[in-house]
């Protein structure tokens, strides 16, 4: 399939580009270490005052932390760089370069940038999850593992769609920089069980900014508390949102190119 090949090519280019900046690797490792230590300290602090939070034990919440870091790594490696570059291109009128290349524009703008050194986050996230899992009494069965993988996929797709929508809005509202800062802040909510949030916030981080689907649902899968309705909801939501996003993107693109809406 050509789309896949194009994707792979651009990914490779992006990686080669980033490989030039070796110092960035050390900086990424350093920052990942700091972020991890901070997260662990907070967790330890919380659990020095309580045994369980909203039904989640410390080891289980360690898994949640790991998944949040892991997902954050995926976002910062592959999703965010592309979306911020897209916003930038729209702001500076450089999008035309991308649009005049052959192939589907959405694929192009979604895969051309890669921050390969952020993979460090993915690695550290995986390590944390494994450590957390090793301390949970219940084992992770094949069904749970499959559910986890599926949930991660749906979560990643949803975050991608969310970001693409934000970037598409940049066609109309040129100054979208603040969105980036807002996202990073809101993404932090993923570290904690969403059950603790007031209802309005819970709805917000589920359907507005799909953090619950990105972090909590996979975590539930891994800790054997996921019910199939939630997973189904995640799947349906992912498919629907992807379709809507695609439509919105093409709508924005037509607008941008001057065609009547």
């Amino acid at each position: 399939m050509n789309a896949l090949r194009v994707t792979w090519l651009f990914f490779k280019l992006g990686v080669l580009n980033e490989m030039q900046y070796r110092v960035n690797f050390f900086i990424s490792v350093f920052q990942a270490a700091i972020a991890l230590v901070t997260g662990l300290v907070v967790l330890a602090l919380v659990y020095s005052h309580t045994q369980e939070l909203n039904g989640w034990s410390q080891s289980e919440l360690l898994c949640v932390l790991g998944i949040q870091i892991l997902m954050g790594g995926i976002i910062r490696t592959a999703i965010q760089p592309n979306m911020t570059r897209l916003i930038e291109d729209v702001q500076e009128g450089k999008l035309d370069y991308a649009l005049t290349k052959p192939g589907d524009a959405q694929i192009l703008v979604s895969v051309r940038e890669v921050r390969i050194w952020q993979v460090v986050d993915i690695v550290s996230g995986v390590v944390v999850v494994l450590v957390g899992l090793s301390r949970i009494s219940t084992d992770v069965g094949p069904l749970d593992a499959a559910a986890f993988a599926a949930a991660m996929l749906f979560g990643a797709v949803l975050i991608y769609c969310f970001w693409l929508v934000i970037a598409t809005v940049a066609f109309w509202v040129v100054n979208m920089w603040h969105a980036v800062e807002l996202f990073d802040g809101v993404f932090q909510t993923g570290r904690w069980p969403i059950g603790i949030y007031p209802p309005w916030l819970r709805v917000g981080v589920t359907f507005l900014v799909p953090i619950a689907f990105a972090v909590t649902v996979p975590a539930e899968a891994l800790t054997s508390r996921l019910d199939w309705q939630t997973l189904l909801l995640a799947a349906v939501f992912a498919v629907v949102f992807f379709a809507v996003t695609r439509w919105f993107w093409r709508f924005g693109l037509r607008r941008y190119s001057g065609a009547s809406a």
Binding site: Q31, H49, E181, L182, Q188, T189, W192, L201
Partner: protein, 282 residues
């Protein structure tokens, strides 16, 4: 109208009055400029409330689970703590290492060095003006948060007055230390690493993460000898806690002490930095 060449230089106004004049004029310039950017400022402040809201919810949950309080701190206290947190956090944003890097790299330092004033004065004055705008923008935000989270807040007039002074004390402490850190930018463009390390220490030891009484004892002991808590935990506590008048005054004096220590460090660092800059050029 011709003036004889090499005539006496234009008469300069008195020193102290000129300093005050400089600060006020710079502050006014900052207010005018930042007011133009009020939307951007608002977005930034808005994005910043995610952090305290999360902590607030977490600790309130724990408090509720434990029958109302954690270590004697109630849910209402947490709400108050983290709402006031949002203002103190903003007062803590000063001209630091990233700004210094930008200043050096973009050649602005040359412009600033040609002026007959220490850039430190300009930085303090400009950001102070900015803070005025921030405080004004913060008020509706605080009201909104209070409506949602129901803080228990009942300070007496002395505490309010102390708070008003303490937030500026926090601003100055942080300015001194951050400006000093910024001097590292004269030697390396990779100052980011040291900066991150410092920020992490600050995060853990200042009361930004949690109210200090919730930290283990050894951490609280360590904090006492560092400036961090005086720029964060102390100002919040003046309004949210129940310090006696004696404690308030003592705290403000300790703030003053840290400002002076930071200033001394900065002056030394500045001298070395300028020497280096003037040797290798911009």
């Amino acid at each position: 109208m011709t003036v004889a060449p090499q005539s006496a230089p234009v008469r300069e106004a008195g020193r102290v009055r000129s300093m005050v004049d400089l600060y006020l004029t710079t502050m006014r310039t900052a207010v005018a400029q930042q007011f133009q950017y009020r939307t951007a400022n608002y977005f930034y402040m808005f994005g910043m409330i995610a952090e305290p809201v999360i902590y607030l919810v977490v600790w309130t949950t724990i408090a509720d689970q434990q029958g109302g309080s954690v270590n004697g701190l109630t849910a209402g206290y947490f709400a108050a703590y983290y709402i006031v947190w949002t203002l103190v956090r903003n007062m803590n944003i000063v001209f630091g290492a990233p700004f210094w890097e930008h200043r050096i790299r973009e050649g602005e330092l040359n412009r600033d060095l040609l002026r007959p004033v220490l850039p430190l004065h300009y930085d303090i004055a400009y950001f102070a003006g900015w803070k005025v705008v921030v405080i004004v923008l913060w008020i509706p935000l605080a009201i909104g948060l209070s409506l949602v989270f129901d803080p228990s807040l009942s300070p007496n007039p002395q505490q309010i007055a102390a708070f008003g002074i303490a937030i500026w004390g926090a601003y100055l402490i942080r300015t001194m230390f951050q400006e000093s850190l910024g001097m590292l930018c004269f030697w390396t463009t990779r100052g980011a690493a040291v900066f991150d390390l410092w920020m992490t220490l600050e995060l853990l030891l200042s009361g930004r993460l949690v109210p200090l009484p919730l930290m283990p004892d050894w951490v609280q002991e360590l904090s006492r000898f560092l400036p961090f808590q005086w720029a964060f935990y102390f100002p919040i506590e003046t309004l949210v806690g129940d310090y006696s008048n004696m404690a308030l005054v003592r705290g403000l004096l300790v703030q003053l002490l840290w400002i002076l220590i930071g200033l001394a460090i900065f002056r030394v660092a500045w001298r070395f930095a300028i020497r280096r800059y003037s040797a290798v050029g911009g």
